[in-house]
Each structure stands twice: as C-alpha cells, then as structure tokens.
C-alpha cells in the first residue's frame, strides 16, 4: 500500500498555456493509490517544493509524482527535496508534460490534455512499484590521467600536480609539446611559440608528481569516476632514457631517411630522430619500420657511435597500469588536406599554413627562410587563402576558428621579412574576435597587405609553378587574376587520429563535426556525458591557444571539484543486478557488456554471473539479453516498465 502525491506544474504558461492543469490534478486524484493531487504555478520554486515537503512530513505521502518539465531539468532538484523531507530520493517519478506534451502539441490543447492524462497515469503506475535505492560510493584515487601533452594537456597536468595530485601525462610522440612546437610565432602577440612553451615543458619534466609517458598510448580504461583502471602501452624508443645525453651523434650518422612529419613533409628525417632541439625528453626515437637494423640487422652505426651506449635494440613494449580518479582528454587536432582544387599536391608552391610555420621557423628546414620549394627563390607575390576546406559543404561545414588570425600572422611573417613583397589575403569573412585580435588586423592593414574579399576559382598551376588564381573581388567589383609565387592555404582542422581511438576506448560521444562532445554546449563545456572524464583543447573543437589553456584549467577545476577533492564519489544506483537463483550460467550477457562490468563467480560449485557495481553504467543491454530474465535493471525493472505501460490503460 503506497500513498502517492501527484503535483502538476503550470510552469507559468509553458504548460498551463496549453494544458488544463486543474483538470489534470483532478484526474490524478481519481487514480488508485493517489492520496493527494495538487496543481501549482511553479513546482520547482521554494513555495512549490514546500507543498511537497509538507505532504511528505505531515500527510503521509511516500511516493511523489511531479508532472512538469523534462527530468533533465529538475529531477535532481526534487530528489534533493525528497531527501530533505526524509524520503528516499528514488521514490520520485517525473512525468514530462512540457517538452513531450505542451510544447509539441501547442496547436491542439484538448488532445494534449488527454495525452497528459495518459502520461500522468503511466507515471502513477510506475510510482506504485518504485523502491528505495542507495547511491554507490567509489573511493577516490587522488590521481589523474591526462591523454595528450600539448598546451592543453600540459596546462592541466601542471595545475593538478601543483594542487597536490599525481598525474600520468601520456603522449604518443617522442616529446611533449604538441602543435605549438611546430609554430614559429603565436598571434596576436607574436611571441616565439617555443619560447613561451618550453618553460612549461621544463616544469612538467621537473615536477615530481607528474609521471611523463612519451611514445605511449592508452590501451584500455575501465571503471568509474574516482577509480579508473588504466593500461598504458609504452612503445619502445630503443634508446635508454637514463643513459642518453642528447648529443645527436646518432641522428647525424644514421644512413636512412624518411619524410619528416614534424616538418609537415618539407624535409627528411633519419630513422633515429629527435623532432626539435628543445624536446622533452631530449632523447631520440628509432623508427623500426625503416631502421636497417630491424630490417635485416645490417646496421648499428648509431649504437657504435653513442658515447654513453644508450641505444638498446632489445627494448620491448611496456605496459604501465595505473588507477586514477579522473581522465582528461587533450588529444588535439590534425589538418584537413583534401584540397586539390586549391592546388595542394599539384604544385610544391601551394603549401598549408603549418608548412609555412615550418619554413618560417629558425629550426625548420630552411632555417627560417620563406622560399618557393620549386626553385628555392624568395617569393615576391604571395597569396594567403582563408577558409580552405572550411565552411564548405563539399569539405568541412564548420569554421576552423583560428584560420583568419593564422592567415594574418602568416601575412606578417612575409611582410616583416620583405616589406616589398606583395601579399594578398583572400577572405570570405575576417573573424578577429579575441583579445587584441582586432588590433592585429589593423596592424596588418597598415603593413600594406591587400585584402581581397572573395573565394578563388580552381587554382591553375602555370609555367615554372607560378599559381594562377582567378578570384572575383567583391570590394572592387573586378575579376582579378593573381599570379602568385606562393599560395598558402589556411586549412580546416579535424580531430587528431588519436582522438578517435581514445573516443572508442573511453566510450565518449562525438558531435556531428567529429570532435568530442561536451555535456552542454553553453553551461558544461568541459564535462562529458561520463562522470570523471573531461575535455580540454582542440580535441573538443578547434580553438586558439588562450581558449585551450582556459579550457584545460577549467577541466582541472572540474576534476578537482567533482572527484579529486572528495574522499568518495557517489554514483547513481541505476545499475543491473543478477538474481542468482534464476541465473543459469549461460554467459550470453558477458561479452555484451560494453563496460566489462559482468564477472563470473563460483557459487555452490556452479558458475554464474555477477555485476561489478562500480563499473556498471546501467545501459540495460545485459538485462535485455538474458534468456532467463535473471538480470534486472534497478529503477527500471521489468515489472516497473510493464506496469508503466499498463498505466496507459487506466
């Protein structure tokens, strides 16, 4: 015997403007087991909540049904209320008569009210069979796993380490630093990128709480917030980290070359290589796919010459296991390069913005000289095309966010070196929204850069690889034909290869644009749908450096607030449970669990399945698959669901 209280909310005019809420309350009061039914303007307000509280404490209500907006809005509010009033918070049922009724059927108020009655009847039917549940507690391990050691990952790592937590900082490259290490300067301050980054990298290396794992990838992550069990695979670099002094003799003497990814294909690197001199750790890596020693044991020049005998061809892959409280994903971005129509791959004088960065970098393939790759000459006419592959339904629909500013920066690179050079910036819009950005745009105009508002035709490659760019200039109302010596493309940005792998490992969502999805686009930009897993940097979406840093600090902050500062984390008890009496040990459910939360147990000589409560996320797949109906989902039991459906026939 239960005593149900039904509370119908007007929600101002959101619900009451369409539904006849008074009649809904009257209808509800006529349902079996409903002792009290009320209608109030704003149930979520203090006054509204007090109504419920009083009914619980004085009028014997022990099951609460609130007919109002979506549970995603106020289920939590009302659960807290129930607890305060002395009732188990899971004895609450929220019926959505706003998003699923008044808002979508606003043109048919009478029908909508009938529908609302049906929804309330279902809610009441379910409420009869609700049972008290108690949240689960996971003790918190005070450490973090940060995947990706670019500026976002580094920022988060230092923040958490300095707050007192242990950090595992993982990166698949041989050195930390990410994309910033490839840049020459950063906009709008024109700081030397490595100059501002390397002190942070050095801090990371020196920080005792940060365990740095380069050449590493995350293999698996199991568990929940507070207690994630992580397996990290450390690839062998074939060089002993403790012995190597970073002298570089090995690279100089190595006979094998391959295209240099760090230089975006503009130069060659050796089989044993260090990407840049300020690498952390400053220890080279051997690429076994081209190293002659691995091919046919025909070479060990490097190990012979190494002064500290640091080369170790026998190094094996290692697995590092750890238990952490939170995971921050900062896996960064990659460049979109399917840009044949702009001439990319048709001419060596059409390059990406990142390639220009490498040319402009003092440690790059040309020592800082911006030259035409076709003949080594200095370009006199340079065109910079913004939005190459972005905001384009034939390529990437979204804006790359940083292209406009990068384009301005690249124009600065050219003009500051050669004021006589003719520089065209071909733009669709010019987005300079950040701090100091508008000033930077003005500065470039003052330097005499020619801004052409338009988007170029299919680019032609003319004699001696000059580029023929035909573009309608809207500001001049003229069809221009620009003969450029060099064309720089500000390309679109896409999630890095690592992002997609990690996404599947962690089972987090991605948006329509392929980037990792946040919990709420406005209010929760760093949380994911999984507690304890946070996002930072370009993995979440293209952004500039200050935004990546701010987001990383936000992610650390959330990690501390929600998990690391606590001794234990409570998770909702909406999980699966196995009735041992019914389980036949058929094991059909076992491989179906995406979270590996089912385990085999021996009981009275028989093998059966049991749920590892902390790992279970309540998806219900096992419950649906069990042929013996031995598995049920708490709070969504078969009986509860069946009764809810029967409620429609009330």
């Amino acid at each position: 015997m239960v005593s149900i209280g039904v509370y119908v909310c007007d929600c101002g005019t959101n619900i009451a403007g369409v539904l006849d809420c008074k009649s809904l309350a009257t209808y509800a009061s006529g349902l079996k087991d409903v002792r009290i039914a009320r209608n109030y303007k704003y149930m979520c307000s203090e006054a509204g909540q007090e109504l419920i509280e009083r009914d619980i404490q004085r009028n014997g209500i022990d099951r609460v049904v609130v007919a109002a907006c979506s549970p995603s809005m106020h289920e939590h509010t009302f659960r807290v209320l129930l607890e305060r009033a002395g009732l188990n918070p899971y004895l609450l049922e929220v019926v959505n008569i706003r998003e699923q009724c008044s808002w979508v059927h606003s043109s048919k108020p009478a029908d909508a009210t009938e529908k609302a009655k049906g929804l309330i009847a279902m809610g009441v039917a379910r409420a009869r069979f609700l049972e008290p549940l108690h949240p689960l507690e996971t003790p918190v391990t005070k450490s973090a796993l940060i995947i990706g050691a670019g500026i976002a990952g580094i920022t988060a790592a230092l923040n958490l380490a300095n707050t007192g937590y242990e950090v595992y900082l993982v990166d698949k490259e041989g050195s930390i630093g990410g994309r910033m290490t490839q840049l020459d300067k950063t906009f709008p301050t024109l700081d030397c990128s490595l100059c501002i980054l390397t002190p942070l990298m050095a801090e990371v290396a020196a920080n005792e709480r940060i365990k740095l794992l380069t050449c590493s990838e995350v293999g698996s992550v199991e568990g929940v917030a507070g207690g994630f069990d992580v397996a990290i695979k450390v690839r062998p670099r074939y060089v002993d980290l403790r012995k190597c002094i970073g002298c570089g003799v090995c690279s100089r003497i190595c006979p094998v070359e391959a295209p240099n990814g760090f230089d975006e294909g503009l130069s060659a690197r050796k089989a044993i290589y260090l990407n840049f001199p300020q690498a952390v750790p400053r220890v080279p890596v051997i690429d076994p796919s081209i190293c002659l020693h691995f091919k046919d044991s025909s070479c060990d020049l490097c190990s012979g010459k190494c002064p500290t005998k640091a080369i170790d061809f026998d190094q094996k892959e290692e697995e590092v296991g750890a238990r952490v409280g939170v995971v921050i994903v900062a896996t960064g971005f990659n460049l979109y390069q399917d840009l044949y129509e702009y001439g990319l791959t048709r001419s060596r004088n059409v390059i990406t913005g990142m390639q220009l960065e490498r040319l402009a970098s003092p440690s790059g393939p040309t020592g800082g000289r911006i030259i035409r790759r076709s003949d080594g000459s200095e370009p006199k006419t340079i065109a910079i095309a913004l939005c190459a592959g972005s905001r384009d339904e034939n390529h990437l629909q979204y804006c790359c966010v940083v292209g406009c500013m990068a384009g301005l920066k690249h124009a600065w690179y050219v003009k500051s070196h050669d004021p006589e050079a003719r520089v065209y910036v071909l733009y669709n819009d010019l987005r300079a929204a950040g701090k100091g950005y508008e000033e930077f745009y003005a500065r470039l105009r003052e330097m005499g850069v020619i801004f052409v508002r338009g988007k170029p035709d299919h680019v032609d490659v003319l004699k001696d690889e000059t580029l023929g760019i035909r573009i309608y200039d809207q500001t001049l109302n003229e069809n221009l034909e620009i003969r450029a010596d060099l064309l720089v493309l500000e390309t679109g940005l896409i999630p890095s290869d690592g992002s997609e792998k990690i996404r599947k490992t962690l089972k987090i969502s991605k948006g329509g644009d392929g980037f990792l999805l946040e919990l709420h686009p406005k209010l929760h930009p760093v949380d994911t749908y999984s507690e304890g897993i946070y996002l930072a940097g370009a993995a979440h979406g293209p952004k500039d450096i200050p935004s990546a840093v701010a987001q990383a600090l936000a992610a650390s902050g959330r990690a501390v607030e929600k998990v690391l500062s606590k001794e234990s984390v409570t998770t909702e008890p909406i999980i699966a449970e196995v009735d041992m009496g019914k389980c036949s040990g058929c094991m059909i459910c076992l491989p179906l669990c995406p979270f590996k939360a089912l385990k085999v147990v021996e009981e009275v000589g028989r093998r059966r399945v049991s749920v590892e409560e902390v790992k279970c996320r309540g998806c219900g797949i096992c419950a649906a698959s069990c042929p013996s109906a031995a598995i049920d989902l708490r709070h969504y039991r078969e009986r509860q669901i069946a009764e809810t459906v029967r409620g429609t026939m009330a």
């Binding site: 044949y340 129509e341 048709r346 299919h458 032609d460 490659v461």
Partner: protein, 284 residues
Amino acid sequence: MTFSAPFVYWGCFASTKQYCVEVSTRSLLRALGTNARELEGWSCCGHPLKGVNPKLWLYLASRNLSLAGEGKLLTVCNGCYLSLKEAQHLIRSNDEAASWVQRVLSMEGLEYREPEVLHAVEFFNNELKGREVARPLKDLRLGAHYGCHSIRGSFKGFDKATNPGMIEDILVMLGAEAVREYPGRLDCCGATLMAVDPDIGFALASGKITQSREAGLDGLVTPCPYCFEMLDSRQDTLAELKGTPSIPVLLLQQAIGLALAIDRRGLGLNFNMSPVGQILKDRE
C-alpha cells in the same frame, strides 16, 4: 567484366549532325562484342530546353528513363547524361516533381522507372579493363577534355569533379602518355553559348584550344559531341576569327577504336576537321 547489354541513348545532336559519334560507337561496341540495344520510342532528352520550360525538360528526360526500365542506359553525350542524371536526382528528392512525373507519364501509358544511367567514359573504362590493345597509341601525349556535364552537377557522378581521372586512365590503357594536368583542363568549351552569343562561344573554345596547345599536348580527347563540335569542327573558323592555333581532336570512341585497330571509315574520322593526320600517320 562486361556489362549486361545496355540501351544506347544517342541523343538528338549525334543523331542529326555529329555522325561520327554514332558511327564510332557502333563500331566500337561491335569490336568489344557488346550487344547494345536500341531504345524504342526515344525522344530528345530535354537538356537544351531546361531554361525555356523545365517541365518540358522533366517530361522528356523522365520518359526516356522509363523506356529503359530497370536496365542500363548508356549515354554518348554529356548533355544527355546531365539531363537524365539530374532528372533522376530531382525525382528522388522532390515529391512534388515525382508525382507530377507519374501523372504525365501515365498519359503516355508509361510508368516512371529507374535505369542505371551510364556515361560513355565509365562504360568504356570498364569494358577496356584487362583487354589487349592491338595498336597502342605509343608516343602520343594526349590530354582529356571532359567537358562540363560529365563531371559537374548536383548529383554524384562517376568521377571526382575537381580531379577526374577516368579518361586519362583509359588513355593509359590505350598505351598513350596521358597528361593528367594542364591549365584550363576543366574549362568549358562554350557550346551552350552558340545558341545565344556565338562570339562568346568562340572565345571559350579558342581559349581551351590555345591552352592545350601551350601545354604541349599532341592531341585532345573528348567524349561529348557538343565539345567535339566546338573544339574540332570549328577549328577552321576559330583560326580565321581569332588566330587560334590548331590541335588534333579525337572523340573518345575514336581514340579507343584506333587503338583497337578499327578502320578510318568505321570511326568516322572523315568528319574530324582538326589536323588528326598529325597523330594518325601510320596508325590508320
């Protein structure tokens, strides 16, 4: 390897004037051992009349599609290809257009059907795979002129619009050196403008030929009878009016036929007005 026998859709232009298209295609299909079928009851595809009356176009295009049933419909003209593909795409995506088509076709006793519309380029590309070529087009630097409608449109065509390569692949199979990139490769020949302002049409054709010549091509190969008319048939006029240089131009079917040792008459080479003798030499 071979397609099941397609219907061949000749189109108005090839049937009434550009005879080398039908001649060379028939010879080629015979040589390849393909039984092509005639499409009984066919009419104009409506392509040139789309602007004047789009409903007329839709009726014309859809009736030809329905005559081909669920079979394969091989087009030998870019305009026809665009017309039929666009009609298919429109009917699939626009319910109003679809129901109008059903209504009008039923007046003629027809029902709308969806054949597989093939362009000559993709068809012959497939037919040639793995075949031996009797007289490879050795030592010839040939470029492709795809025309516009074989590669661009609101539907998914048989090749990439910004970087098509199927004709060049065919040329390589024929033993020639295919020049895969040259300035203006994807430009328009100007055929449509002949109905409106011939001067513009001539200017465009002239531009194409000049750019091909400057790129050092020995010849151009095109699959479209309209492009062929602009680039080959009118070369004398262009030379007179604009001083346009000359360049040998072959229809795709002619190039393939040459490599398969089909004779001059069988390929309609008597219709080529451009100096094809330069590349034919002892290949006839």
